[in-house]
Amino acid sequence: MTPILELRDAGFRYRRAANPALDDVSFTVEPGRSLGLVGESGAGKTTALSLLLGLTTPTSGSVLFDGRPLNPRDRTQLRDFRRSVQPVFQDPYSSLDPRQSVGRIVGEPLASLGLAAGEEARERVAHALHSVALPADAARRYPHEFSGGQRQRIAIARAIVSRPRVLLADEPVSALDVTTRIQIIDLLGELAANEGMTVVMVSHDLSVVAALCAQTVVLRGGRVVEQGATSEVLRTPRDDYTRRLLASVPRLPA
């Protein structure tokens, strides 16, 4: 099967930076196989996500969408890409515009991508809110009326309203309490299973990745140190750094 997204020998160097943020990174996002990008601050996770989102162009190598290099000048491809790949951001407190109603926030991709308007848009917003288990009247309310977990649901509703194939989520649960964290992971898992979406999630926490993603890529200092099926990475971590990440996760007493 053709991967939906792929980084092929991708590198990225910020201007005047001594070292590249990403160096020769390759991995594929296969349909139906959620992928976790794991590493610490400075590992290059967010830069990799930014490449996958088409917000940043690699300084070497390429980003492929449905097997074809992402070309910012190809408007047909870009339109298809924008509809198919949607972001969920880390902080539900700062990523939602406080002056807009939840209905407008969630419906924004429909308007900007020209996918739906009027009654049809309202129906799709209502469906998206339902999918993330928010009440229908949420559309008329404002972000400040919701808790952190509910705001992350709003952000997810916005991401799924265009029925994308891939959700790219940057630390979607790290700002949340543990009980809320589990609920959002479960929600992302359900969306992946029921709506055929593939989740690519960035996290510094292997337990969160293990709870959701079939595939794991471990990044350190801008390079891939290990990748494979999450169960394999957990069972037989080959790299010292992966072992250290695993050992660092706080565990409950047996």
Partner: protein, 271 residues
Amino acid sequence: MSAHNNAARGLLEVDGLSIATRDGDVLVRDVSFRLDAGERLSLIGESGSGKSLTSFALTGLLPEGLHATGSVLLDGVPVIGARERELVALRGRVASTVFQEPMTALDPLMRLGRQVAEPLRRHLGLRGDAVRQAVHDALAEVGLPEPERIAHAYSWEISGGQRQRVAIAAALACRPQLLIADEPTTALDVTVQADVLALLERLVAERGMALLFVSHDLAVVSRMAQRALVLRQGRVVEEGAIDGLLSDPHDPYTAELVRSARELDSALELP
């Protein structure tokens, strides 16, 4: 008289602590507990539970607009209603706090060495070379490489994990009997978190300090404390030994916390 030579009195005694806004909204209601010298206790709760406000009230650090009622005795000294001058004498010497976000706890305009030196000058009256030596020792004790370089640096010039180590060094410089740690590792990467927790464990054990560890993370709490209070919406819903809370939670909310933590934990179990 210190708590050490009076077994009948706890190092920290909290009785009927409530915290309210000026408008009368009660954020923490009737919290009571006791912490003895050398004991490790946790306040567990999620956002809005009042766990951080409770920990702030213990050394009179509540934000403007909030006020506390009830009784807090720190080494026998009443905190609620005390003058700022009396509180300054307690902070750093009897009890010190390490906060969640070291970036906000440290002054970005002051070299880190001066921030560690400040409590040493105030409480221990150290001056000159004695201060420099004590700052060096304090930074070295928290495992910071090149203490001289760190002492001359500003908070924004070092990493998040290093900042938290500096904040711990400053908090512990005057050898307090109680360390209050308010989500000290929540803002850190897991590997850095593991290092900082190990550091706190070592320092608390070496000095025989009491620890009040505030967190929403049961896995972290089970490592750091023996006993816990579970807070929800400003009230204590359950308290007891951590092992008991994990194996046999009585309150439905505690049970929900344990279930969530177990679900996340089990994701790392091998199939």
